[in-house]
């Protein structure tokens, strides 16, 4: 079995129950919803959603091996590319469309986020924050692309081709007319930062971020 290059190293997340961001995302979704998980990897989030929240979940995943694993678990997952295949889906087909640690691995993140807000009433996007102080420190002191516990791959190996900071993402949301309904930032140990903290503080101390987005006017 070939080892997939992870977009995010969950072994470092330090939680007994798996990736803490998955549980947080799962908790943001109303039970009984229709959910599309774009870049669902091995189906961990979909499995949580179907088991605990009575959710009609679907997944798209780039790696065929991951897809086959998901289907063998009984999940409704198809092989597909977030950059190319979201156009298939009709408007408002889902209550939530999730990009869990996926957006930074797409070729055109802005178009992908616009697409998920077209086909879902809400979009949930989680990504590693390149504005975290440790990233800034590494770049400043070493002059090299940061490598961390969660993002252990070198610049030439990583599937993550479009890193951004929390502030970058907020600005893009504004540009595409998306309304940010919730912002959650997690520190390096997976603890939530104070939700009332300033954007500056979230961007400095959040190692990863989760945004709940809706279309303006929706």
């Amino acid at each position: 079995m070939t080892v997939q290059s992870p977009r995010y190293n969950d072994m470092a997340a330090g939680s007994q129950t798996g990736r803490i961001d998955l549980l947080l995302v799962a908790g943001m979704i109303e039970p009984g919803s229709r959910v599309l998980d774009v870049g669902c990897e091995d189906g961990a989030l979909l499995q949580i959603l179907e088991d605990r929240y009575d959710i009609d979940g679907r997944g798209i995943e780039l790696s065929q091996r991951n897809v086959n694993e998901c289907v063998a678990k009984g999940l409704a997952v198809v092989q597909g590319d977030a950059d190319r295949d979201l156009t298939d889906y009709p408007d408002n087909a889902f209550d939530y469309v999730i990009l869990s640690q996926t957006v930074q691995a797409t070729r055109n993140p802005r178009a992908v986020v616009e697409e998920i807000l077209r086909i879902g009433r809400r979009g949930i996007v989680s990504f590693p924050n390149f504005g975290h102080w440790r990233m800034r420190w590494q770049l400043m002191t070493r002059g090299r692309m940061p490598v961390t516990e969660h993002l252990p791959m070198s610049w030439y190996d990583t599937p993550n081709i479009h890193f951004c900071t929390i502030r970058d993402f907020v600005m893009m949301a504004e540009e595409i007319g998306a309304r940010i309904e919730r912002t959650v930032a997690l520190d390096a140990r997976g603890n939530r930062l104070d939700g009332n903290a300033s954007l500056r503080r979230l961007n400095l101390y959040g190692e990863q971020a989760i945004f709940v987005l809706a279309r303006n006017g929706a």
């Binding site: 086959n68 289907v71 999940l75 009709p90």
Partner: protein, 396 residues
């Protein structure tokens, strides 16, 4: 192996008096065909495996491919070989007959007991031959629905099949979305491609070029276009494999000889293999049935009835889909299967899609492919839980 004459008799016997369960629908229950003919009487020959639950919720319909038949998981009455899908269907197998009641019927137009061109026309007392109406995949599915009515089964838990069987499964989902809880179309397409129609036409021309075909009246005239049908099978068989698999299996190896003979004997193993495939095929298959069934596949185009929009055919479908393709299948390539997936996504259907990596070509769906079995087990387990089938609550 049976000699040509004996096997011809054996094949005819299976057409008229099959080693299967049989249901007959009389003139009071005609089947309206796509060509406009109201067909009666209709005979359907079928096999079943496992036990139907009291609430009749655990029925699985297996649909067979072009040259398959209803003998999915029992020894074949003519060849004596194991059923064509006994790796997939049986106790403890992915389609587990300890849990599911499995039905497989010989298709309409076939030659193993269901009405086809080799059947006797009650009006004339002679085989239909080319007077048999041209049937479609949808006609086959309608006849299967009649069989289910006869068995008292309102809803199938699953319909599963590969190739032409996959076409029937897709047609089930389109024609009877409320009668089929889940479908597994394998290595198939929503329409037959120009290239595939071309291959079929080569096969039909080979049959019709055989002087023993007698314009389709060979049963009446006591001949059998074996050579033509064997050539058709040889050509078709190549399309079921892959260049890689042929190379791995045969390469340029010579057959029982040290050197090429500068003649037209079967010098190469691949030639000998194909000749064998052709010769054994004619022992169990009827030439006219081959014409009718290839035609049914040629005519298959689901989107044609929906202004070319495949997604419209599936709009609002409650059925769960699991689409399967194989990397080296160039007859029904992944791309064609992916088009079905795109359409199902657009229609909001619940769909899983696996592409299995193998070098064995189209025929891979009949072979020992553990990843295929894993996917089908997982999909069926999940569907069974969603369906609330007894004995599936604690499925791993």
């Amino acid at each position: 192996m049976a000699t040509g004459l004996d096997s011809r008799a054996a094949a005819s016997t299976q057409t008229d008096d099959p080693d299967s369960q049989v249901v007959r629908f009389g003139p009071d229950a005609p089947l309206t065909l796509d060509c406009g003919v109201s067909f009666a009487p209709l005979t359907i020959a079928y096999q079943t495996y496992g036990r139907l639950d009291d609430d009749k919720a655990n029925a699985v319909l297996v649909t067979h491919a072009l040259t398959g038949d209803q003998h999915v998981a029992n020894d074949h009455p003519i060849t004596g070989k194991p059923g064509w899908w006994d790796l997939m269907v049986g106790p403890g197998k992915p389609v587990d007959t300890d849990r599911y009641f499995v039905i497989c019927a010989n298709v309409l137009g076939g030659c193993m007991g269901t009405s086809g061109p080799g059947s006797v026309d009650p009006e004339t007392g002679k085989p239909y031959g080319l007077d048999f109406p041209v049937v479609t995949i949808r006609d086959m599915v309608r006849s299967q629905a009649m069989l289910l009515d006869h068995l008292g089964i309102e809803t199938l838990f699953c319909a599963i099949g590969g190739s032409m069987g996959g076409m029937q499964v897709l047609e089930w989902a389109v024609s009877y979305p409320d009668r089929v809880f889940s479908v597994i179309p394998i290595a198939t397409a929503a329409r037959h491609t120009s290239q595939n129609i071309a291959f079929h036409e080569v096969g039909r021309q080979a049959v019709m070029a055989d002087p023993d075909w007698r314009s389709g009246r060979y049963l009446l005239e006591g001949t059998n276009p074996k050579k033509g049908l064997a050539v058709a099978r040889m050509a078709a068989h190549i399309t079921y494999l892959s260049d890689e698999a042929l190379h791995r299996k045969f390469g340029r190896n010579l057959q029982d000889r040290e050197a090429i003979t500068f003649g037209f004997d079967a010098d190469f193993q691949i030639e000998s293999y194909l000749r064998h495939q052709g010769m054994t095929f004619v022992d169990r298959f009827d030439a006219n049935a081959y014409l009718y069934l290839t035609r049914a596949m040629d005519y298959f185009d689901i989107a044609a009835d929906y202004d070319g929009q495949l997604a419209s055919a599936f709009l609002g479908t409650p059925t769960r889909f699991c689409i399967v393709s194989f990397t080296s299948d160039w007859l029904f390539p992944t791309e064609g299967n992916r088009q079905i997936v795109h359409a199902l996504n657009a229609a909001g259907a619940r769909v899983s899609f696996v592409e299995i990596e193998t070098d064995r070509g189209h025929d891979a769906f009949l072979l020992d492919e553990p990843e295929l079995f894993g996917a089908i087990r997982g999909f069926l387990d999940s569907a069974a839980r969603a369906r609330g089938l007894a004995g599936h609550e604690a499925a791993p």
